[in-house]
């Protein structure tokens, strides 16, 4: 399964995506969680230290030779994508592996060094064979990045939205853009729902099937204040339980195909 979480900034993509990865891994599935946000938040909701800087080192990346086609930077010869994950991903709880392209730490970081890591990261998410890992991506907020190459690994897109007007408008824009891409299934996940009818409102205004309705839950916000993963900090909260149900619903739709099975 190759899933991308998208949505307006602050919709709750990272909190839901991290919890989603942990539940998927508890089903015995190998999960690679990837964060392509230069201001990353996925590490925290997976249960990792948010200050870790996980990136593909410069020496693993080479520049395109003269006359060669494709992106300017790629992994060095003889280094395959499965091996790169073994080497550079970080082990999160429940066996989840975590990979990100590095954090922006100031102006010096926004230059070529991060760019190298980013290009290698894109190569890994794109070329990783399906039989090794489920890939779950947490993409930056808004509509700029998801469909400019960063989300192209995804076959399933989950659009996270609050029930407010701005969230729904963003979700509609994203849903329209997804139609133009190579995505097989698209669902909405309503987050911070607080009124009866919020799920119906999102379904009606976006035209999307709502796969889950995560209620407004103080324990989710409290987990972040304590710098803890929601699944560890509030395992019995209704919000965390609903994310587990989202995994179950995807499975019952046949979208969580067993890794290693022929597809």
């Amino acid at each position: 399964m190759r899933v991308a979480f998208v949505g307006k900034g602050g919709a709750g993509k990272s909190a839901i995506a991290g919890t989603f990865c942990r539940f998927l891994a508890r089903r015995g599935e190998p999960v690679l969680a990837v964060d392509s946000d230069p201001l990353p938040g996925l590490a925290l909701s997976l249960g990792l230290d948010i200050d870790d800087d996980v990136r593909i080192p410069d020496e693993a990346v080479r520049e395109r030779a003269e006359g060669e086609r494709g992106p300017r930077f790629r992994l060095v010869e003889g280094l395959d994508v499965v091996e790169s994950i073994e080497k550079w991903s970080v082990r999160a709880p429940d066996g989840v592996r975590f990979l990100q392209f590095g954090k922006v730490k100031g102006q010096a970081e926004s230059g070529q060094r991060l760019w190298k890591s980013q290009m290698a990261f894109r190569q890994i998410t794109r070329d990783l064979p399906d039989e090794h890992w489920h890939v779950v991506g947490d993409l930056p907020g808004g509509t700029r990045q998801p469909f400019t190459g960063w989300g192209s690994f995804a076959k399933t897109v989950l659009i996270v939205t609050e029930p407010g007007a701005a969230g729904i408008l963003s979700a509609r824009r994203l849903a329209r853009m997804v139609e133009l891409d190579n995505v097989e299934s698209v669902f909405a996940i309503v987050n911070k729902a607080s009124q009866p009818g919020d799920a119906e409102l999102v379904a009606e205004r976006t035209g999307l099937e709502v796969l889950g309705t995560v209620p407004w839950d103080d324990t989710f916000a409290d987990a972040e204040r304590r710098r803890r993963a929601p699944i560890d900090d509030a395992p019995d909260s209704t919000a965390v339980r609903e994310v587990e149900s989202v995994v179950d619903r995807l499975a019952s739709k046949g979208l969580v195909t067993k890794v290693g099975a022929s597809s």
Binding site: G9, G142, G149, L180
Partner: protein, 103 residues
């Protein structure tokens, strides 16, 4: 005065900007509210409604599509592509992403 509001997604930039813009306008100042987000939602918070927010053509789109022949001034762009909101705030969108671009 030229004021930029920045911050993490969901932290309340758009809401804060719209309240500042309307408050300044109510005190009698001419205010242009520029939505610089590629996923522009400022119109909703300003109170122009979501249909008008979706209808607004971004100034960058207009320039890219050649609707402007000569290098236009900011004033003329804001006049042509902006929209009047409550309290006389003039809203303009800088750039909107509508289509996926090749990676």
């Amino acid at each position: 005065m030229k004021l930029a509001v920045v911050g993490k997604g969901g932290s309340g930039k758009t809401t804060t900007s719209s309240v500042i813009a309307r408050t300044l306008a109510r005190s009698g100042l001419p205010v242009v509210a520029l939505d610089c987000d590629s996923n522009p939602n400022l119109g909703i918070s300003l109170g122009v409604g979501d249909e008008e927010t979706e209808r607004l053509i971004s100034m960058r789109q207009a320039l890219d599509e050649g609707q402007e022949e000569h290098a236009p001034t900011w004033d003329s762009l804001i006049t042509r592509y902006g929209s009047d909101g409550p309290d006389g705030v003039r809203l303009a969108v800088v750039s909107r992403i509508d289509n996926p671009e090749p990676g």
